[in-house]
Amino acid sequence: MTHLNARVARIVAGLAVVSAFAVAPMAAQAALTGDAAVTGTLNAGVLSVTAPTITAFSATLTGIAQTKNTPVGTWNVTDATGSDRGYDVTVSATAPTVDADGAGAGAPAVIAGSTLKLYTTTAETGDNLNTKPVAQADAQLDVLADGGYAASTIQSAAAGTGQGPWDFAADADIAAGLEVVIPGTATPGAYASTLTYTTAQRAA
């Protein structure tokens, strides 16, 4: 009887040890999920734009107005703010100026009668399942009286749309990209213009 009791006791003890191994991970898991609350802070990201590179070009003057199209590189806009306010990307430009002596000396002269037209492209969807920003009509940048160009909106994301990153492919079509009309009255020299890409959340 004593011998039997000792055997039973050993079996019970063995089972207890095996059970302890089974219960230990569960207890540890309970300690992680039940006893300690998981906390953290989600910081707002930023709204940013990567303006494209625009290829420089040269042309031979003909005495009459002519059009040149130059490729516009890839670009990107990212809304990581988490605000769902929506945003706009606008483009403005300075009127082309010419450095007639080609040496960078003297004040550059503004060329009258030229226009810039930036063809808009559609955002590539990629892995982003949100509603993409809307490509606006091609941006016609006409010279204003003060020598600058009126800004034009090229991409618009209404409230609740456009979140996350959006890529825009390079536009190297011969009749797209950035179209520059060079007036017939243009003089030879080194021309320069600056395109400003502005990104901003929508106003309240």
């Binding site: 009749a175 959340q201 309240a204």
Partner: protein, 381 residues
């Protein structure tokens, strides 16, 4: 005779293969320049600008004569040290709606803004809070006023401002670009919120880029309109010349805009009827029913200002038009060659199926035939 079709079969493969290869080569050369002309990838942004305290902090409430306080956070998102230039701005309407931040000749609420600093130097991956004040003049009227703060990387600005040095020694056209970040600030004063859009003019305008229908608009009232869908049609007699369906962005009160809709091709002299409607959100619709005249003087002006060769319509979603033309030519060439091969094969087959030569051929053996020669040789042997 049976060898003729065999010869045709062996010659058909090279012709077809050559045609296919020619078309593929044409396609390859057609697409190659388009990709080769792609400019290099853009530079990553260096800075970010946001309203401190979340985007709701962009809305400040006050009364005439009061001074309001706010702040923006400027961040350096690059891995190098940068200097950021901050400027107060007026908000005007861009040509097709939404905010155009202007920093020169401030005349609106941008003048009320005072920044605690104009230049911020930031170490890599660091941020700084910049305080600002808005001093509302005693004379301010209307419920809403809009201003903005813009931030530019000073290095980008400096590079763009010295194009003469960059272009030195080489003629050509250099285009710089600047990344600019802006934060809109809405200043809300007591008063009713009203919205109204007025159509000032409808014109057929001429510029170096071509003709365009220009709608002169003036948003009015005391608060902005979120958007304004436009739908219109231009007709001449019974013919529709132009259809447009588009949407204007946010419209800020008190700022005129000339919304330009590109005209397809060149208009001819005469009268055109413009009919349509603009439906701004939260405001009454604006109906358009107006006749416009394109005068002979405008026709001359258009001819003088625009390039003589009409531009090929851009193909936005795929290959350029000229690539399609080259591919079309290659396909036509392939079709012509295939037709020629088929016709030659058909002719050969007909010849093969023709009746056998007359038995006279056998009755009169050719004394010069090899068989005869062989026989003679054998007999000689």
């Amino acid at each position: 005779m049976a060898t003729v079709p065999t010869a045709m079969t062996t010659s058909r493969l090279p012709i077809g293969a050559v045609a296919v290869l020619a078309s593929l080569a044409l396609a390859a050369t057609a697409t190659a320049p388009a990709t080769a002309a792609s400019p290099p990838a853009a530079k990553r942004p260096t800075l970010a600008l946001s309203a401190t305290g979340g985007s709701s902090a962009n809305l400040l409430r006050g009364r005439p004569g009061r001074v309001l306080h706010g702040a923006v956070t400027v961040s350096n998102v690059s891995r190098h040290r940068i200097a950021v230039r901050l400027q107060p701005a007026d908000i005007r309407n861009a040509a097709n709606g939404s905010a155009d931040y202007t920093t020169t000749k401030l005349s609106q609420a941008g003048r009320w803004l005072r920044l605690s600093t104009r230049t911020v130097r930031l170490a890599a991956k660091s941020s700084r809070r910049i305080a600002y004040t808005v001093r509302i003049p005693q004379s301010a009227r209307g419920a809403s006023h809009y201003a903005g703060i813009v931030a530019v990387d000073a290095a980008e600005l400096a590079a763009a401002k010295s194009p003469g040095k960059r272009a030195q020694g080489r003629a050509g056209f250099t285009i710089s670009r600047i990344n600019r970040q802006a934060v809109p600030i809405t200043i809300r004063l007591p008063g009713p919120l009203t919205r109204k859009l007025t159509l000032r003019s409808v014109k057929l305008d001429v510029s170096a880029a071509g003709a365009g229908l220009v709608l002169g608009l003036l948003p009015r009232g005391t608060v902005l309109m979120q958007s304004a869908p436009v739908k219109l049609r231009v007709s001449r007699g019974k013919a529709t010349i132009l259809r447009n369906s588009s949407t204007l962005g946010q419209l800020f009160p008190g700022s005129k805009l000339d919304y330009r809709i590109a005209w397809n091709g060149r208009p001819t002299k005469g009268d055109y009827l413009v009919r349509g409607v603009i439906r701004p959100k939260g405001a009454a619709p604006v109906y358009i029913n107006q006749s416009i005249t394109f005068t002979p003087a405008k026709v001359k002006e258009l001819k003088r200002e625009t390039p003589p060769v009409a531009q090929v319509a851009p193909s936005k979603d795929g290959l350029p038009m000229w690539v399609w033309l080259a591919l079309g030519g290659a396909a036509a060439l392939l079709l012509t060659l295939s037709l020629a091969v088929w016709r030659l094969a058909r002719r050969g087959r007909r010849t093969a199926e023709a009746p056998a030569p007359a038995p006279l051929m056998h009755a009169l053996p050719d004394p010069d035939s090899h068989d005869q020669d062989d026989r003679h040789d054998r007999s000689a042997a």
